[in-house]
């Protein structure tokens, strides 16, 4: 068998191409259920907007793990922690042309694909002894930012800008 020079060329060209993509990244997607946009790059900053999973944002600048973004719909810019954002485009609707691309490219992710609410429901149906009540309860155990700030101050801790990197 002889190695095809054409395929090798394609490989080499793509190596260069993927390196170019990594340098850019002007648009990102919200990869958490509720993406909070803050006035300042800190978890103590006021929440000025809440974005939905899959929302596309335009990035402006990065500072200590926080990214200043423009929310969709031309709302005022704010800060989101980088762990809430993904380089991948998250496609919400299956069956679209975008979704086809999502399935075959590392640059895209299809929301709801794979392990999802339907799979969890099927898992519950076949494991009736496993109760999710406390998991749902846990998921609602949220601590408001002002409580965290008071906790930090009272305990003489360091008011975290939040997040490393």
């Amino acid at each position: 068998m002889r190695r095809s020079p054409a395929v090798l060329l394609v490989c080499l060209a793509l190596l260069g191409f993927s390196a170019a993509i990594e340098g850019g990244g002007k648009e990102m997607s919200v990869q958490v259920k509720q993406g909070q946009v803050r006035a300042t790059p800190s978890f103590l900053g006021k929440v000025v907007a809440t974005l939905a999973y899959g929302d596309r944002v335009e990035t402006l600048e990065e500072k200590d793990g926080w990214i200043r973004i423009v929310p969709p719909g031309g709302k005022a810019p704010g800060w989101m922690h980088s762990s809430a954002l993904s380089q991948k485009r998250i496609v919400l609707k299956a069956g679209t042309k975008e979704a086809e691309l999502a399935a075959s490219s590392g640059e895209l992710a299809l929301a709801g694909k794979g392990f999802n609410a339907d799979v969890e429901a099927a898992f519950k149906a076949s494991n009736k002894g496993i109760d999710f009540t406390w998991i749902d309860r846990m998921q609602n155990m949220n601590v408001p930012p002002d409580k965290i700030l008071a906790f930090v101050q009272e305990g003489k801790l360091i008011p975290a800008g939040g997040g490393g990197r």
Binding site: M1, R3, L14, A103, S104, I135, F151, A160
Partner: protein, 306 residues
């Protein structure tokens, strides 16, 4: 070029990937190579699809589990744990744990997950703590009894947060399951699956949940993962202003409380003594744990009767 030569080239590329050099670039290369071949009529549509599919499946690993899927895996892993150990439904104690835990999580390298970080006490005398993927953290009463200060509880929680940040739980899932899930899903996923596809996918899901829970409960992580989590914990503690020696203090009590041959941390974790050695080797000296009165007061109020 003849059709045979193109097929041979595609096969060669697949072989290269199967040989262990699988990466996104090669996956892309295979895809482009295949689509060029297809556009020139050298491979059929079906052949092209199957080449893309196989290449993709090989290149996949736990890293391709999206945060959304991690969330669903974590929920079911958590449900299995809560059903095995039973929750400790003490409001003030759990509130205190969440206040402390969420403060620490915000200082980690991964402060945001799909569903956020949440903490629950388990009503068990065993010395145990578990991190389900995505941010659900469980700590037994037995473990909390090893803690004599807020700094020590912070150390336990920071260690579990580090496991989540490093996605250790997902790495317990057998790689073949990720590949299997992708094979079931095929080239494109739909939002709701019908009949057989859903049944097959649920089977893979059940297997994944069992991989993670048996690692958490029975087998434990590798020593390397535990060391990484201890190192991650020390970083988080320092950022928030807790004494990283809180981890050492907790491990010292744990060493006394652990029963040899027990089914808890005695089975799933390196010995406290060796963990203390590892932590201290990385840290330049260590000073005595300074008690902050306000911390000690709220620790006693929240967990004093645990």
């Amino acid at each position: 070029m003849t059709r045979i030569r193109w097929t041979a080239a595609a096969a060669l590329l697949l072989l290269a990937i199967l040989g262990g050099t699988g990466c996104a670039t090669l996956e892309e290369a295979a895809k482009v190579g295949t689509s060029v071949a297809k556009s020139q009529g050298r491979v059929t549509d079906d052949q092209a699809k199957s080449i893309t599919k196989v290449t993709k499946a090989v290149a996949k690993s736990f890293e391709d589990i999206t945060p959304e899927q991690e969330y669903y895996i974590g929920r079911s892993v958590g449900a299995v744990l809560v059903n095995k150990y039973k929750p400790y439904p003490n409001g003030p104690a759990n509130d205190y744990l969440n206040l402390l835990g969420q403060t620490l999580a915000q200082a980690s390298d991964r402060p945001e997950t799909f569903g956020g970080y949440h903490f629950l006490i388990l009503d068990s005398p065993e010395i145990n703590a578990f991190a389900a993927p995505g941010g659900l953290i469980f700590v037994s009463r037995g473990m909390l009894r090893c803690c004599r200060s807020e700094d020590a509880v912070a150390a336990v929680l920071a260690h579990e947060i580090a496991h989540i940040q490093l996605r250790h739980g997902l790495q317990a899932i057998d790689k073949s399951r990720v590949t299997e899930a992708l094979t079931i899903l095929g080239a494109e996923g739909t939002k709701s699956y019908g009949g057989q596809k859903l049944a097959d996918l649920t089977k893979v899901f059940e297997g994944s949940i069992s991989d993670v829970t048996s690692t958490l409960v029975n087998n434990g992580y590798s020593r390397g993962f535990e060391r990484e989590a201890d190192a991650g914990a020390v970083t988080i503690l320092a950022r928030v202003g807790y004494d990283p020696d809180g981890l050492v203090a907790m491990l010292t009590v744990m060493e006394k409380n652990l029963k040899p041959g027990g089914l808890d941390f005695a089975k799933t974790h390196p010995s406290p003594g060796s963990r203390i050695d590892d932590i201290q080797r990385r840290r330049a000296g260590g000073k005595a744990l300074a008690e902050v009165p306000a911390r000690q007061a709220r620790f006693r109020k929240g967990l004093g009767n645990i």
